[in-house]
Every structure is written in structure tokens, then in C-alpha cells.
């Protein structure tokens, strides 16, 4: 693996941690549900790095969490988080980043904003919730439908995060196009 890829994987893992440690965004539409910016880290990693590196960045996050660093939203971390009802979401970040990155590469001929939005929504919401809901159903013995109900309150916040991710991708594409690795010419 090239040095640059290595550093960027570490960087996006760090951005993910920073998003979780940051004070919560003020989102009036969510009706008091605590919303963290963290799942945006998975969208960003996929959209910016592409499928493989995005997924590796998320795997690095999981590894560091398992090692005991409290880098998840609310200062959580350690092996304990893999036993919470949200463990499905935690593993889902890897798949979310992979799918978002893959879509970004598939849609490379399209406009950056539109394809980043599609990639974030499909990867960061559809795929992530599929993992999250199945994980919650497994951990809590609820049926899939009931587990889905318990997760739905987060969807409005996540849609906003997808839009923000797309805006960031577009800005980077304008200001520093070579940094959008998911669009870099494959060699």
C-alpha cells in the first residue's frame, strides 16, 4: 500500500473520531433526538476515498475502538460498544463506506454533487440501516419491523448528513480535485 493511501485512511478514521467528539450539531428538525455527526464520517470516507480505502478507514476505526479508545459519540468506546443494541450500526459503517465509495466510482462520469448525494444516501442510510436494524433485532430479540421502528427517528438527521457530505465532496472537487481519490484515474 502506498504511503499516501495509508495516511489518508488514518486521516478519515481520525475525521470520523472528531465528528463523534464534536459538540452536537444543532438540528431543529429532529425533535430533540440526540444526533451525532458520526455516521457522516462513514459517508465521507466512502465518498472521498472510494470503496476499498473507505472501508479500510472504517475498519481502522473499529480496531481502535476495540483497543479501548473512547472515540465514538458521547465518549463511548472499548469492547463494550460491540455488545450494545447499536452494534449493527458500528459494523454497518464498514459496509456503508464501501457501498458509498463503490457508487462514487460507478457514477464517476456524473456530476460530483449528485453522485455524492446518491452514494451517501444508498451507502450511509440504506445499507447502514439494513445492518443496524438486523443488528438491533439480533441483540434485542425484537422482530425486524419493531427494530426498524426504533431506528426510524434518526432518518431525518441522516438525510441532512448526506446533503452535507455531498456539499463537502463538491467543494473539495472544486478546491482540491486530486484529493477526491474515489474519482482519481485508476492505474
Amino acid at each position: 500500500m502506498k504511503d499516501r493511501a495509508l495516511v489518508q485512511i488514518a486521516l478519515y478514521a481520525a475525521i470520523f473520531a472528531v465528528l463523534g467528539l464534536m459538540p452536537k450539531f444543532d438540528l431543529p428538525i429532529a425533535g430533540g433526538v440526540p444526533i451525532t455527526a458520526q455516521s457522516m464520517g462513514a459517508m465521507l470516507a466512502g465518498v472521498m476515498l472510494g470503496a476499498k480505502r473507505g472501508a479500510l478507514a472504517m475498519l481502522l476505526v473499529l480496531f481502535v475502538v476495540a483497543l479501548g479508545a473512547p472515540i465514538l459519540a458521547g465518549g463511548r468506546g472499548g469492547l463494550g460498544v460491540f455488545f450494545t443494541p447499536s452494534a449493527g450500526f458500528i459494523f454497518g459503517w464498514v459496509a456503508a463506506a464501501f457501498v458509498a465509495g463503490w457508487l462514487m466510482q460507478v457514477l464517476r462520469a456524473q456530476a460530483v454533487f449528485a453522485s455524492a448525494l446518491i452514494a451517501s444516501v444508498v451507502g450511509g442510510i440504506v445499507v447502514l440501516y439494513a445492518f443496524g436494524i438486523v443488528g438491533m433485532a439480533l441483540k434485542t430479540d425484537l422482530s425486524l419491523i419493531d427494530a426498524a421502528k426504533a431506528c426510524l427517528i434518526f432518518i431525518p438527521g441522516d438525510s441532512l448528513k448526506a446533503v452535507l457530505t455531498a456539499l463537502v465532496a463538491q467543494t473539495v472537487a472544486r478546491g482540491m480535485p486530486e484529493a477526491l481519490l474515489s474519482r482519481a484515474p485508476t492505474r
Partner: protein, 203 residues
């Protein structure tokens, strides 16, 4: 950076990291099929007495569960509504016991010991050209990036506030990303200039 690790040594610190991890994995597999409230209550009581034996600093970490409470209430409610309250309570007791037990391993194991303990599992990664040393470098880089990125965000936030009097919030995201990417390019160049990341035996 703050860590969940307990600085004060307890008896559990002396147990090798690998054993603790194996014990945790075994217990998590063992308790999954059971749904009885007394059994799960007993498990939680055992885990709690483990915390008592680790001392006051460990007990204080139980407060980390607080953010989970609203979700647990919703989950028990759903269980009650769709079937049996008893199953819901057993589920919550099991969740609490396992989260606390896993956290106890984290509390009493240093990060580098944990890394050494999982190294044998990571060895197959060398087949994909990623040496465990490169992984250790990535972990170190990531942990170093976190405070650096915070400082960068704060700097952007302050300059935004100087100009507008308000907090920057999401508006800072795009400049923040460009600045961090520039930072990562410099880091990568510096790394290459120093001989590059360790590559394991494959090269």
C-alpha cells in the same frame, strides 16, 4: 487523549490481555441463547460485583451506560407491546451485563497490550501486503490526527467567529476538509521522505 483505561492497578490488570479477550468471547457466546430473568439478573450481579472488586474508579465508569438508557426504555417498551415484558427485561439485563463486562476488559488492559494480544489474529493481513507494523503506524497516526484536527477546527471556528460573531457550525466543513487533506499530503510526503511505511516481508 483520554482513555477508558483505569490508571490505578487492580488484580484484573495482572491477567494477560489474551485470556481476558478469550473469556469475554466465551461468555458472550454462552449467554446468547438464554432468556431467563433470574439467570441474566445473576449474571449482571456477578459482573457488578466484579466492578466492586475493582474499586471505586471502576464503579464510576458504570455512569457510561447513561446515554444508553433512553434506547433501553424504548426497547423494553417494544418488547412489552409485542409480546412479553419478561423477555424484554431479560434482554436488557443481558445487554447491560455484556456491555459492562466488555468495558471491564477495556478498563484493565493497556492499549499496547491489547494490540500485542490481537497481533496473531492480524498476521494473515500480511498476505494482503499489510504488515502488522504498518497497522500499528496507522493506529498511531490516527490517534495523533485527532487532537490535530480539533485544533484545526477550533482555528477555523475562531476565525469565523472573528468575522461574523457566530459559531461556524457546518459551514466550516468544506474548508476543514480541504485543510485536513493538505495536512495529510504533507504527512504522506514526510513519511515517504523518511523511507515510507513498513511493508512487512513482502518487499
Amino acid at each position: 487523549m483520554i482513555s477508558l483505561y483505569l490508571a490505578e492497578r487492580t488484580w484484573a490488570h495482572a491477567v494477560p490481555a489474551g485470556w481476558k479477550l478469550i473469556a469475554l468471547a466465551l461468555i458472550s457466546l454462552l449467554v446468547t441463547p438464554f432468556d431467563s430473568v433470574p439467570l441474566m439478573g445473576g449474571l449482571l450481579a456477578v459482573v457488578f460485583s466484579l466492578y466492586v472488586s475493582l474499586g471505586r474508579a471502576a464503579l464510576r465508569q458504570v455512569a457510561l451506560l447513561r446515554p444508553m438508557l433512553p434506547l433501553l426504555v424504548i426497547l423494553v417498551g417494544l418488547h412489552w407491546w409485542t409480546g412479553s415484558l419478561e423477555a424484554g427485561i431479560a434482554m436488557v439485563l443481558r445487554l447491560l451485563a455484556m456491555v459492562l463486562l466488555a468495558n471491564a476488559v477495556t478498563m484493565t488492559t493497556r492499549m499496547d497490550d491489547m494490540m500485542d494480544a490481537v497481533e496473531p489474529i492480524l498476521r494473515p493481513l500480511a498476505l494482503f501486503g499489510l504488515s502488522p507494523r504498518a497497522l500499528a503506524l496507522m493506529v498511531a497516526m490516527m490517534l495523533r490526527f485527532v487532537p490535530l484536527l480539533f485544533a484545526l477546527w477550533e482555528a477555523l471556528n475562531e476565525s469565523w467567529r472573528a468575522r461574523t460573531g457566530k459559531r461556524g457550525g457546518w459551514r466550516l466543513l468544506a474548508p476543514f476538509c480541504i485543510q485536513t487533506l493538505r495536512l495529510s499530503h504533507h504527512t504522506a510526503e514526510a513519511l515517504t521522505a523518511r523511507g515510507g511505511a513498513p511493508r512487512g516481508k513482502r518487499r
